[in-house]
């Protein structure tokens, strides 16, 4: 039926193959004979196509880190940026975001974060850990892979800051934006794929630096790993450089600067150039507006992605055995050492090094049970629950010894400060 009128139609159709589209959709056809309303359709050359590139600034309506990461991923996978470059602006409620190859237990104080309702998220791009809150602006620059340029993007930001507030900022050799006194106001990371690429960065506008410090404070937790380790650096807010800098104005001024910049030469083309672009758009990142978004969000929010994706590591802690657990004639300086091997977020093996007296002491029989009950468990509070259950089922008159072991294990896993070892 459909074939009939396509074949029967008066106008001949030509096939133009569209390559690189990630969506598995039918090829688009177009005819040159009937009225074509696209102004660049008459030009077929690559240069002309490039010349017709327009820009949009998308502003996310969501403040949920997982939704925004999912939106970023959705655009990266599904959008065709050939003639349309996009800058996505987003802000999140308090969250710590680790890089793709990082270890969340190493980079952040996981127990403290969950107490304060601060999320931990893992992004798709590499690099180090950052702290987000509503005073932080995230920018993602989307282009086709061959037109990716971090430098251009960062220069654009510096120009916007200069134009609006006269702020002088520089790009450091590590491609971070720094203020005059070399304090970092922005962190940067990227993902290059085919056919799309993105460069995203943060801008500290009015972040709560106290919370940032607490959230990212690293403790000596005895973790050994090949994961990417963050390089801490002193940071500063834009509002400290100039008290007039406000988030709303910053959004607008970076957006306008992006729109007036040539997508390829990165030159400032002036205000008239803006009229040729698509301008600002709010984006409501829900599954109904972007089918498939919910699935991506669920993945970003899953324990398996956030924690499970950590490269293999082991954590070693030693604990002083409390005096009450030792008999009178033992030395008081006895230590229990625990090493846990974790792979894909799951406990692979546990090694307990128990002081001989504790091991031989009547009632302490839990060593084997500790290991077997923890193996295969997620490296989380759930493992502790399993352990407690396993130990409590043992017939042991000295429950305090088992409780001590459980306490040590919990400390290991939740990386709490051990008060006694302070």
């Amino acid at each position: 039926m459909a074939q009939n009128f396509v074949q029967g139609s008066i106008v001949k159709l030509q096939r133009i193959a569209i390559t690189g589209m990630k969506r598995n959709k039918p090829l688009a056809l177009s005819s040159m004979k009937f009225c074509n309303y696209s102004s660049s359709a008459q030009q077929g050359s690559e240069e002309a196509k490039v010349a017709g590139t327009v820009k949009s600034v998308f502003i996310s309506q969501s403040n949920d880190i997982f939704t925004n990461l999912a939106l970023e991923d959705w655009l990266y996978r599904n959008f065709d940026f050939t003639n349309h470059h996009i800058l996505l602006l987003w802000q999140n409620s308090p969250a710590v975001v680790i890089g793709r190859h990082q270890n969340p237990w190493l980079e952040a104080n996981t127990a403290v974060l969950s107490e304060h309702g601060i999320e931990i998220a893992r992004r798709n791009s590499g690099g180090g850990t950052v702290y987000h809150d509503r005073g932080n602006l995230n920018l993602t620059f989307f282009t086709p892979r061959e037109h990716y340029s971090r430098k251009n993007n960062l220069q654009l930001i510096c120009r916007a800051l200069l134009r609006e507030w006269g702020l002088k900022t520089e790009i450091s050799p590590r491609e971070d934006i720094v203020s005059g006194n070399y304090k970092q106001i922005s962190g940067t990371a990227a993902k290059l794929g085919r056919p799309n690429a993105y460069h995203h960065c943060t801008l500290l506008v009015d972040v709560d630096k106290v919370k940032l410090g607490h959230a990212l404070h690293k403790h000596n937790k005895g973790i050994k790993t090949n994961a990417t380790q963050s390089i801490p650096s002193p940071v500063m807010n834009l509002c400290d450089l100039n008290s007039h800098v406000k988030m709303e104005k910053l959004l607008a001024s970076i957006g306008w600067e992006y729109l007036r910049t040539d997508p390829y030469s990165a030159e400032d083309k002036g205000e008239d150039f803006i009229g040729k672009q698509r301008g600002f758009q709010f984006i409501n990142p829900t599954d109904q507006w972007f089918p498939g978004l919910e699935k991506l969000r669920a993945e970003f929010a899953s324990w398996g992605w956030r924690f499970g994706k950590s490269p293999k590591f082991n954590v070693t802690r030693t604990f002083r055995v409390p005096r009450e657990l030792l008999s009178k004639d033992e030395l008081t300086d006895q230590e229990l050492s625990i090493t846990i091997d974790v792979n894909k977020g799951v406990v692979e093996d546990v090694l307990l090094t128990v002081p001989p007296r504790l091991a031989a002491a009547k009632g302490f029989s839990g060593q084997a049970q500790v290991v077997t009950s923890l193996r295969g468990q997620q490296f989380s509070e759930e493992a502790i629950t399993m352990l407690q259950k396993a130990l409590s089922e043992l017939e042991s008159p000295e429950q305090t010894r088992n409780e001590f072991v459980v306490h040590c294990m919990r400390t290991c896993i939740l990386a709490l400060e051990d008060e006694k070892n302070n």
Partner: protein, 405 residues
């Protein structure tokens, strides 16, 4: 005595008249002739993009009710005879319109509009469906309403630019579209029933999600009451003018009050069926010769020349699977065919829902049950599938043109 050049005289006259014109940003026409410009040009389009604080938040798709939400920008083109006619088209942030209290549209309904849609295809591109036909119809309406005409192609290009800017208002899910409402109003600030010397052509857009309530995939029940007439010979029922619609609201309320959904508009003592609600009507039956026939009322001045209607007729003629006729249909024929089980389907056709099957008609105190939905392969469903396949790019066709993306 000073002898002014022709140019100087024109400029002086224009300068004098300018003082009385509303303070829009208008640049004077480039040509130095006194002749009225008969169209505006896409090449003169200026774009003022909204800044973030002027943007509207996007609601949930399921919350998108038809006609209740609008996008961030609009297209505006002014016409002032005193300034040489059509001015430069503008795309600017969505704003209210300020009118002089004597503006003709407010008194004599010198107004016309169009209804069309932009569809997000399966390949993600935005397409518009046969826009040139809307432009033809709009210009016909303008002539009748005493409003200025314009070149449709230039308007479509400006519209495509607007759609391009607003395309994130169309959800990325399938079956999502943007409803386009071009409107032309007479804004002459003077009472007096006369040709408009000033007019405003503007276009606003409404996002339409795939699940918005009101599309009615279910068949509708109709009220056919010969007391009410929508159009008459010599009238303007065949023009898409606002003045045709206001009088129908009361009748629609009557239908709703009787528990029915739409009005079947009848004309003359023969109770000819003309239109249903705001759609054209089609009847599919087995005629006296025993062959299947698709019939719709002719464009004799009573009927709005719908673009969906035209598309259905063209498709039918191309398929050549049944007879196609454009002729009047009296209610008596409907009743007669129904009694002989030869009435197969009755359905409305329009932009909003493509086709709308009719389940029943309340006529002269009786309810006529129409078996539209009781067939295995109803023709109205085939039309809907074919047209939506074209609109959403599942099938490539010259009727649906991608805008510049």
């Amino acid at each position: 005595m000073v002898t002014l050049t022709r140019l100087a005289r024109v400029l002086l006259r224009r300068k004098f008249l300018c003082r009385h014109v509303a303070t829009y940003k208008v640049k004077p026409a480039l040509s130095f002739s006194n002749e009225v410009q008969n169209t505006f040009k896409f090449a003169d389009l200026s774009v003022h993009l909204a800044s973030p604080e002027q943007l509207q938040q996007k609601p949930e798709v399921t919350a998108l009710q038809f006609g209740k939400h609008f996008t961030d920008h609009m297209l505006k083109i002014l016409y002032h005879e005193s300034l040489g006619g059509w001015q430069r088209p503008e795309i600017l942030p969505f704003e209210n319109i300020v009118l002089h209290p004597a503006a003709k549209v407010l008194h004599y309904a010198t107004e016309l509009f169009e209804g069309m849609k932009a569809y997000r295809g399966v390949d993600g591109k935005i397409r518009i469906f046969r826009p040139e036909k809307n432009m033809e119809r709009m210009n016909q309406s303008a002539l009748r309403a005493g409003l200025p005409t314009f070149d449709g192609e230039n308007f479509i290009k400006c519209l495509c630019q607007l759609l391009s800017i607003e395309q994130e208002w169309v959800p990325h899910s399938e079956s999502s579209s943007l409803y386009i409402r071009p409107t032309l109003i007479g804004i002459d600030p003077s009472l007096g029933v006369a040709q408009c010397a000033s007019a405003l052509l503007y276009t606003i857009l409404c996002p339409v999600g795939s699940y918005f309530s009101g599309t009615g995939e279910a068949a509708v029940s109709l009220l056919a009451d010969p007391r009410f007439t929508r159009s008459w010979p010599g009238g303007c029922g065949d023009k898409k003018m606002g003045s045709n619609y206001a009088p129908t609201i009361h009748v629609q309320q009557e239908a709703l009050g009787q528990g029915l959904q739409q009005v079947l508009w009848l004309y003359s003592d023969d109770h000819l069926i003309t239109e249903v609600g705001t759609m054209n009507i089609f009847m599919f039956c087995i005629n006296d010769s025993g062959e299947r026939e698709l019939i719709t009322p002719p464009l004799d001045g009573l009927i709005l020349p719908g673009i969906t209607r035209a598309s259905i007729l063209e498709l039918s003629r191309e398929w050549n699977e049944f007879r196609v006729s454009e002729r009047s249909i009296p209610m008596s024929e409907v009743v007669h065919l129904l009694s002989e089980n030869r009435l197969l389907e009755l359905f409305g056709a329009g932009t909003a829902c493509v086709v709308s099957p009719v389940a029943s008609i309340s006529y002269r105190g009786e309810t006529l049950h129409i078996p539209t939905e009781r067939h295995k392969y109803p023709i109205y469903a085939k039309f809907r599938q074919t047209l939506t396949d074209i609109q959403y790019g599942r099938v490539s066709h010259p009727w649906a043109v991608p805008i510049d993306t």
